[in-house]
């Protein structure tokens, strides 16, 4: 048995496996913490640097590690200079409309795929699965032309519509699995009590589907809020830009004014980070479940 102590890092930390005379038992544990903390530093450094830079005086940016005094003034300055209230409002509108549309469209469809048998079900369902495989680049140019012909180019509603196709397919797929996990008997007994199809869906299954809906809301909100390519292409006038493309534009405006840029990025991040902190658990499980099922 030729074993090197550090290899014990890779499996369960039971005390037995590190019982080599030359390798102190608690060194393994210490080493694990050192590695994990190093990763924390690597992952957190860009964010920490961004926060520190955002409160520096602009002539200190490149000379000092820490600011001599904290300048919160950058925040109101950038908040107004970049018209953040407008862009946050735009992003909120697009995200709300997109998620709302997707839920309204996808929830009944997912329910029907899970609960009914009808001719052509397989074919239609595979069409939905097929839509999930479409990379956004493939529909960007046709979508541009399509919205242009509807006079919905440079419109936040048009931007939302461009997200609805792919989002609906994904939501149907996720929620169908959720509806399948709910007991069939509930609907059957409600039907005996005289509920029609719509009432069974509306009053029995929809309330039970809330965890599934929550997963879709989290995934889709984050995805829509963070989307860049469509929002940067389909919206042209500055006052209609979403947060993502507004901060991208700001790079040209501020170039090396890193204080302002960092402040802008932080303001752009705050909504997502606040929601993440409030709903960590749901975020982590929702996003990973979405990946594993999708």
């Amino acid at each position: 048995m030729t074993i090197s102590g550090p290899a014990a890092l890779l499996t369960s930390g039971s005390s037995r496996e590190v019982a080599y005379s030359w390798w102190p038992a608690n060194l393994t544990r210490t080493l694990i913490y050192v590695i994990l903390l190093t990763i924390v530093i690597v992952e957190a450094f860009p964010l920490a640097w961004m926060i520190i830079t955002s409160v520096k005086d602009s002539h200190e940016i490149f000379n000092t590690v820490l600011p001599s005094q904290i300048k919160w003034e950058n925040y109101p300055r950038v908040w107004h200079a970049l018209d953040f209230p407008v862009h946050l409002g735009n992003s909120l509108y697009v995200t709300g409309l997109t998620v709302g549309l997707i839920l309204v469209l996808a929830t009944p469809a997912a329910y029907a795929f899970a609960r009914y048998r009808f001719p052509g079900r397989e074919v239609v369902f595979y069409a939905f699965i097929g839509a999930m495989m479409i990379p956004p680049q493939a529909i960007l140019i046709p979508m541009f032309q399509f919205l242009k012909s509807l006079h919905l180019l440079n419109s936040l509603t048009g931007l939302s519509l461009s997200y609805v196709g792919g989002g609906t397919a994904f939501a149907v797929f996720l929620m169908r699995a959720f509806f399948l996990s709910l007991p069939r008997e509930l609907g059957d007994s409600a039907r005996i009590d005289g509920c029609n199809d719509f009432q069974v869906f509306r009053h029995i299954y929809l309330p039970l589907a809330r965890p599934g809906i929550a997963t879709v809301v989290i995934i889709q909100s984050l995805h829509t809020w963070n989307e860049f390519m469509f929002s940067n292409t389909l919206i042209t006038s500055p006052d209609k830009k979403t947060v993502q493309s507004a901060v991208f534009q700001a790079v040209g405006q501020y170039s090396t004014d890193y204080t302002a840029l960092c402040t802008g990025l932080i303001i752009a991040l705050i909504p997502v980070v606040l929601v993440y902190i409030a709903l960590q658990r749901q975020f982590i499980s929702g996003l990973t479940a979405g990946a594993l099922k999708g």
Binding site: G13, I139, M143, L269, Y276
Partner: protein, 309 residues
Amino acid sequence: MATQSASLSLRLRPHLAPILFIAPAGVALLLLMAVPIADAVLLSLQNWNGMGPPTWAGLGNYTKLLSDETFFRALGHTAYFTFCTVILQTILPLLAASLLNSGIRGSSVFRTLYFMPVVISLAISGLLWAMLFEPNFGPINNFLRAIGLRAYTPLWLAGQNSVMPSVIIVSVWQSFGFYLVIFFAALQNVPRELYEAAELDGANAWSRFLNVTVPTIWPVTLIVIVLNTINGIKVFDQIWVMTAGGPNYASATLATYLYSIAFGAMGASNSRLGYATAIAIVILMLSVVVSLIQIRLGRRRNLDSELEL
């Protein structure tokens, strides 16, 4: 004719509810996905500058791709990015997840911290890293100079050879926590008895990792590989905000190349929409092939029952 449609409606009557439930989503999918895709295929067979009437090109755009050196460079960069991110974004999160799963305290704190960059948009992390990478006064090169490595300060995003590795670093930083959480969940489901049995057989930690952990979580590993591959094929946001595919196409991927042809860095004057769409179709084909592989794998796993129709 009338009787035919009458009998059709009679046959559909019992299925009215599901049809009504699915119709809105079906129409949305048709208008916002199927029609654009058909449009894209059609457009890829035409020459069009977006203004005048398009002219038929047949397979002309595709044959032009075959002699377009920049297209092949973009294809190569996409493959390079995909290959490196598949390797790094599978192995690093898996190893770190194993450490987290070794019974240490505070693993949920670590997971929360690692996951942080995942919720940040690709565009914003690209903009942030563009500042970090700034060669003359950016913090990374400042740090390297401060610890006496002045000779080893790369140009990062500004260098022909360093730009792709830099872009890959950003990707690994961003998605590390995401894949780590997936692996961590998978590791928690590995039965403890398997490790104990292996230990009794005298397997050391490394061989237990290779012979117990890796095979048991192989299905999840495959999913991670597929997800990374699909994301690699489509990579756009970070690269576009950091370099727009530059310098001199040194970080052009399929997506950034098609974007610069269609919309230009600053709104192109003579956009070649048909040609750009042909590249989009190439991305589409590649993603569909990988997605089909994914479905195959999912089938074999546990979606068997879930997908039974």
